[in-house]
Subunit: 322 residues, 2 copies
C-alpha cells in the first residue's frame, strides 16, 4: 500500500466524480470508472474515458490493480455501492467525496470496510450537475478535507491526501464530526437559506422577481442545484445542520424584534460585516510541514494545526514502517 | 418642464450618485454635483467632473438651469438635503435613488416638495462604496423603478424615466408601497440573511471558515457592504421588511422541524428550486408601448403592465397638454 500513485477507481461520474476522473487522468495517473446510468457511461466513453456500467467489473478490476476506490455517489446510494465494494474489492484502499463524514464512516463500518477507509470531501461544486458539467479544474486551489480520526491508517491517509493534491487541491485534515459541524454552517446552512430566500422572493410575485438584483441572484444561486442532491446532503447531516439552523433562527428572530421595535439593525450588520471580513482574511493559509504521518500523535498534531489555519500542500513525510 | 434633456444636479457622489454622474456625462448630457465630504469632491474634480462641496451653490445653479435634482444620499441624510432643496431650488423637478420609496415620499411631503417629485430606485450596486467605486456602466441593463402614485406629475415622470434610460436602464413603473414590499423580499431580506449566515459561519471558528466554499462566499457577499449603509436601508423599510423576515422565519422554522423529526427536506428544496427557476425565467421582459403618459388612467395602466412583467425601454409618448 505504499505507492501514492496507484490507479484510481471512481464510482459515480456526476459533477464531482466526473471532475475527479478528468483531473486524475489529466495528471497522467491511470483511472477507470463506473456509473449506474448508461447516459453518463456513453458520454464519458465518447470523451475518451475508461468507464463501465457494470459495478462488479469495475470493482474486480480495482481489486486486481490494487486501485484506490473513490465512492462518488449521493449519500442515498452509498449503501448499495459499499455492498459491492465489500464483495468484490474489500482490501482496496477506500475513500469518498460525499459531503458528510460521520454518516459515511458509519456506513463504511457497517460493511466492515473501516480498516482501509479514510474519508474525503472536496469543498468545490457548482449549481450544475452530471458528467456534462464535470471539469478537470473544479478542484484546483480548493480545500479538500481528508479525515483524521483515532485509528486512521497512515498509509491510506497518504493515498487519499495524494489524490487530493493530484487534483490541485490543498488538504485540510479534520476529525469526521468536526467536519460535519463545520460544513453544516458554511455549506448546508447556505443551501437552506438560499432555498428559503428564493421562496420568499417568489412569493412577492412578478414585480418582486423583476426588481431582484445582485443580492437576490447571489443569495439564491445554490437554490438552482437539483433539489434531490441538496436534500440528500442536508438530510444526511441533520443533527449538525439543526444546530446551525437554530443559531440562524436565533439571530433572525433577534433581527425581527429589532425591526418590530423601531430600533436600528446596527448589531446585525456590524456582526455580519465583521464575520465576512474574518472569512475574507482567512483565505490566506499556511503550510503544515512538521507532522510525520504515522509518527506518535500524528493524528492529533494534524488536526491541531488545521484548526489553527494550516493546510497540507505537498505530500508529507511518512514514518518508516519498522 | 418639457425637455427631457435638461441638466442634472446630483446631490451625493457615493457609489450610486457617482455612477449616475458618470453615466449622465458619458451620455453627453450636462451634469453637476455636490458632495458633503471634501475627499470625494476633490477626487471627482480630479476625474474632470463639475462638483462642489457647497450645497447652496449647487442648488442655486440647479434653480437657474431648471435642472433635474437627484437626491443620492443615504436615507438618514435626506432631511438635511431636502431642507436645502426647499430653500434654494423648490421648483426644480426632483427625484432620488434611495432604496425605499414610501419613507422618501413622506420626507419630500414634509418639505412641501411633492408636486415636482417622482421617486426612483435603480436596482444595481456592488459591495463597494464611495466615488472611487463609481462606474458609468453600473446601471446598464439594470431595472430602474420610477414611481407612479396617484397624483404623479406626468412631466416629472417623463424627466425621471428619461434619466433612467440615459443611464442604460429599463424603467419599471410601480406604486411606492408596492416597490417597498417587493424590495423588502428581493433586496433587504437577502442582506439580512447574508449578515445572519456570515455570523453563524464565523461562530464555527477557523475550521468552518476554512471549509467555506462557493455557497458561503455567494451567500455572504453583500455582508461585505458597509454596515451603516445596510442598516440605513433596512431600518428605513422596517415595516415591509418585517413581513418578509416573518415569512423567512416561518419557512426556516418548518425546515428546523423537519430536520429534528428525521423527515426529509424535500419540500424545502423543491419549493426553493421552483422559485429560483421562476426568477431565472423572468429575466426576460417585454416592452410597454401602449401607454400615453398623462392620458386618462395612465398611472394605473403603467402599474398594471409592470406587474405583468412589462418595462419601459424607450421614452413613451406624452399626451399633448391642451
Amino acid at each position: 500500500m505504499n505507492s501514492p500513485d496507484r490507479p484510481v477507481c471512481v464510482l459515480g461520474l456526476g459533477l464531482i466524480g466526473g471532475s475527479l476522473m478528468r483531473a486524475v487522468v489529466a495528471s497522467g495517473r491511470p483511472a477507470h470508472g463506473w456509473n449506474r446510468s448508461a447516459g453518463a457511461v456513453d458520454a464519458a466513453r465518447l470523451d475518451g474515458y475508461d468507464v463501465t456500467g457494470d459495478l462488479e467489473t469495475a470493482l474486480r478490476r480495482a481489486a486486481d490493480e490494487r486501485a484506490l476506490v473513490v465512492v462518488a455517489v449521493p449519500m442515498t446510494a452509498v449503501d448499495d455501492v459499499l455492498t459491492a465494494v465489500a464483495t468484490f474489492a474489500p482490501d482496496c484502499p477506500l475513500t469518498d467525496v460525499v459531503s458528510v463524514k460521520v454518516e459515511m464512516a458509519d456506513a463504511v463500518a457497517r460493511h466492515g470496510l473501516s480498516a482501509a477507509y479514510v474519508g474525503g470531501h472536496p469543498m468545490a461544486g457548482t449549481a450544475a450537475s452530471g458528467w456534462i458539467a464535470a471539469d478537470a479544474d473544479l478542484f484546483r486551489n480548493a480545500v479538500w478535507v481528508v479525515t483524521v480520526d483515532d485509528g486512521t491508517d497512515p498509509d491510506v491517509w497518504m493515498q487519499v491526501a495524494s489524490l487530493a493534491l493530484t487534483c490541485g487541491s490543498v488538504v485540510v485534515p479534520a476529525r469526521s464530526d468536526e467536519h460535519d459541524r463545520a460544513v453544516a454552517r458554511v455549506s448546508h446552512l447556505p443551501h437552506v437559506l438560499a432555498e428559503v430566500l428564493a421562496s420568499v422572493g417568489a412569493d412577492g410575485g412578478e414585480l418582486a422577481l423583476r426588481l431582484a438584483a445582485g443580492s437576490f441572484r447571489d443569495g439564491t444561486r445554490v437554490a438552482g442545484t437539483a433539489p434531490a442532491l441538496v436534500s440528500a446532503m442536508c438530510d444526511a447531516n441533520a443533527a449538525a445542520l439543526l444546530e446551525a439552523v437554530d443559531d440562524a433562527l436565533a439571530r433572525l428572530t433577534r433581527a425581527r424584534e429589532i425591526l418590530a421595535s423601531d430600533s436600528s439593525t446596527t448589531e446585525l450588520t456590524r456582526d455580519g460585516h465583521r464575520a465576512r471580513s474574518r472569512y475574507e482574511a482567512q483565505l490566506q493559509w499556511w503550510e503544515i510541514t512538521d507532522v510525520v504521518v504515522g509518527a506518535d500523535g500524528w493524528a492529533d498534531a494534524m488536526r491541531d494545526r488545521a484548526r489553527a489555519g494550516g493546510v497540507v500542500q505537498r505530500l508529507p513525510a511518512r514514518r518508516a514502517v519498522t
